[in-house]
């Protein structure tokens, strides 16, 4: 065992099973200098093996003495241990501090012939800690350590009981069960503390809080130093991709008329072409990849004969057709200016809601606060090969919204085409939102105006009788909260692809704004929100003060308090 006795003052009392105490004088650690004038002993940092388990080779009294840390020509703790059996105990204490006794008990652990020495202290609050310790030190079964207060009085006693070895290796990894007895506050058990107990070194002072620590308090103003830079980058509309399917040479995009398609259809039954297709594994759908209808004019790319490519052989159809000039087209829907209606906060969310209908995309919610008082530009970018479209909404010339859709109606030219078309149509229908889901309603219910009930009941702590106090209206609750939590219902299912052709072809916005209910002469009675710093003499009419530092030299304290109360309740200048 390694410990550092404190205050033993060269004397140690010992008793067996509560019997008569014997005093051991001249307590010392072998090989260690005697206790100093203050009675403080130190084991000098030596490591001791407990050797108290059966099976350890401990044969010499010196070794026992070293282990027990005591040396007296007449007394030996081992002798005491041999005098007690299971259930018995030895008590050690400083005669001048008899209330702090260390008790060593002897027990058996199951059927194994192992002697455990359990330590207990007859005072203090017992705590248990579990610490994982990995060390190259040989494992000692039992260690006793002490922590001291600044005045070297005993603070805590630790019994470090290494009761379970995790790994059987030379690393001696183990779990530590540390029992501590605190004579004061809850004892901290730290790694250095364990190390000190095991090695017998003086335990490092446990970290304490810095008494000068201000807990984050400071005496300097902070904040308010933002750069106030609300300039915005302009997000320009994207340009169309430069790499196209046509430029690959593997696909040609034509813009045929109805008559030209009919001509192509007739050409496909030309014996030469028909025979070529029949003799090959190529299907019609391999040469005519797709036929679609788009709802806008295709840019003219010049005339070209349609040729069927069969196994690398260009078969002429004899049909001259307009070629699409580019794969990516743009449809500019123009702009709308979203103007405030009232010029107050009712023009913004949650009071006013704005959504937009985009052909071939659907209905989309827009953030009222982002677009109110601004110009909306709408353009579609469309891919003629896939039929995909992107509705790009710019707000004050900066792209803010992008919604994707499909604006082509496919015309099946084979049974595979038809099956695929029907599958995609059914998929669009099943994905269509009939109404907004619960999450959307919940999201809206959170976005509600504050329901502030103004408390102007005139409570003044009974300091004065406030005559002339303004009594507010009885219905101060914000009715707008009702509007804000109403669910938003979708106005359409899917309008993408073929179904979109059957719907409205011009985009529009839907503005849902409330009816303001404002009593006549409201401002005479309640004023309007102001939040400005003004001289009272420069104002007229109903005035309600938010904050004021009243300095009225001729008034009593009660009068000043009443003044302030009346000003905050509302006066008429």
């Amino acid at each position: 065992m390694a410990w550092r006795f404190v205050g033993m003052l060269k004397e140690l009392a010992i008793s067996i099973n509560g019997g008569t105490a014997q005093i051991i004088t001249n307590v010392k650690m072998p090989g260690i200098p005697l206790a100093d004038a203050n009675g403080i002993l130190s084991n000098g940092g030596n490591t001791y093996d407990s050797g108290l388990e059966a099976g350890n080779s401990i044969s010499t009294p010196d070794a026992y003495n070293k282990i027990m840390g005591l040396s007296d020509s007449n007394l030996n703790l081992i002798d005491y241990y041999t005098q007690i059996s299971a259930g018995g105990y030895i008590e050690l204490w400083n005669p001048s501090a008899p209330n702090y006794k260390i008790r060593l008990t002897r027990t058996r652990y199951g059927s194994v012939e192992v002697t455990f020495y359990n330590f207990s202290l007859n005072t203090g609050t017992r705590y248990s800690h579990t610490v994982y310790y990995s060390s190259a030190f040989p494992i000692c079964r039992l260690n006793i350590g002490f922590t001291l207060n600044d005045d070297n009085s005993l603070s805590n006693v630790y019994f470090v009981d290494m009761w379970q070895q995790v790994e059987s290796s030379t690393s001696y990894n183990a779990w530590f069960r540390v029992h501590s007895y605190s004579l004061g506050d809850y004892p901290q058990i730290t790694y250095p503390c364990i190390l000190g107990i095991i090695t017998g070194n003086e335990i490092e002072p446990l970290p304490e809080g810095d008494p000068n620590y201000q807990g984050g308090l400071n005496d300097q103003s902070e904040g308010g130093d933002g750069n106030f830079d609300d300039t915005s980058d302009i997000i320009s509309e994207p340009s169309a991709p430069t790499i196209t399917a046509s430029s690959s040479g593997l696909v040609t995009v034509y813009n045929p008329t109805l008559a030209q398609i009919q001509s192509v259809a007739q050409a496909l039954v030309n014996p030469n072409i028909f025979q070529a297709l029949a003799q090959s594994v190529i299907k019609l759908s391999d040469v005519i990849i797709g036929l679609s209808i788009f709802p806008f004019a295709i840019t003219d790319g010049g005339q070209q004969e349609i040729k069927i490519n069969v196994l690398g052989v260009q078969l002429s159809t004899g049909v001259q057709c307009t070629k699409a000039a580019k794969q990516f087209e743009t449809v500019d829907c123009g702009y709308l200016d979203i103007q405030p209606y009232w010029g107050n906060c009712l023009d913004y969310s949650p009071y006013t809601k704005i959504s937009i209908y985009l052909p071939y995309v659907g209905y989309q919610e827009l953030n009222t606060d982002e677009i109110m008082g601004r110009r909306l530009n709408l353009k579609y970018r469309i891919d003629l090969v896939s039929g995909a479209c992107m509705a790009i909404i710019s707000v004050n010339s900066s792209v803010l919204y992008q919604f994707s859709g499909t604006c082509s109606a496919q015309i099946p030219i084979s049974n595979e085409n038809y099956d695929g078309l029907m599958n995609s149509i059914m998929g669009l229908i099943s994905d269509a939102k009939i109404g907004e889901g619960k999450s959307a309603i919940e999201a809206k219910s959170k976005n509600k105006s504050p329901n502030i009930i103004k408390d102007n009941s005139g409570a003044n702590g009974g300091l004065f009788e406030a005559i002339g106090e303004h009594v507010p209206g009885l219905t101060e609750a914000a009715v707008g909260v009702v509007n804000a939590i109403k669910p938003s219902i979708s106005h359409a299912g899917s309008v993408k692809a073929a179904p979109g052709f059957l719907g409205v072809q011009t985009p529009f916005i839907i503005i849902e704004r409330p009816h303001q209910c404002l009593a006549e002469n409201y401002n005479n009675f309640h004023g309007y929100p102001c939040n400005m710093y003004k001289k009272l003499g420069d104002l007229s009419g109903y005035t309600e003060v938010d904050s004021i530092h009243l300095n009225i030299p001729d008034a009593t304290a009660n009068e000043i308090a009443e003044c302030e109360h009346l000003l905050k309740g509302g006066i008429i200048i």
């Binding site: 849902e512 404002l518 009660n558 009346l566």
Partner: protein
């Protein structure tokens, strides 16, 4: 202590800082008993009917007062229980102060939503605005394998 009391009728709301006063009478006399300066109780002897007075000014106290209660003690004695009108009394000093104004009748910021002003009914109004242009016409697009 001798002082002058002026009785008035005021025809303004209580929270007016500058009240419209109509003098009812002026009396001078001696204060016979102690009284609060902020909540004085004054007994005036007068054969006139002072029951219509609701306001008072006591020059020696330099204060204006609301008359809270009038007791007709006897044939000619009227007892007035008053409370100081701090707004009227300290009007010049108050008006010379600057303050953060929460609400005002003629000076406002309508974009501040304090939860009190903007009341709405439960009947929203729906407006639709169309964009100038949309999708017009239909044209075929045919994709053919291979190119020229």
């Amino acid at each position: 202590m001798s002082f002058v009391i002026k009785l008035y009728k005021y025809n303004s709301p209580n929270n007016y800082i500058n009240k419209d006063l109509t003098e009812v009478g002026s009396y001078s006399g001696t204060l016979k008993a102690e009284t609060s300066i902020l909540d004085p109780e004054i007994t005036i002897e007068s054969s006139a009917n002072l029951s219509q007075a609701n306001y008072m000014y006591i020059a020696e106290f330099h204060r204006y007062y609301y008359i809270k209660k009038i007791d007709s003690v006897s044939n000619k004695l009227w007892k007035f229980s008053c409370h100081v009108d701090v707004l009227m009394t300290y009007k010049p000093t108050i008006l010379n102060h600057s303050a953060i104004i929460a609400r005002q009748e003629k000076l406002w910021n309508m974009y501040i939503n304090d939860g009190n002003t903007f009341k709405v009914t439960n009947q929203p109004h729906i407006v639709q605005k169309t964009f100038p242009y949309g999708f017009t016409g239909q044209e075929f697009v045919m994709l053919v394998s291979g190119g020229v």
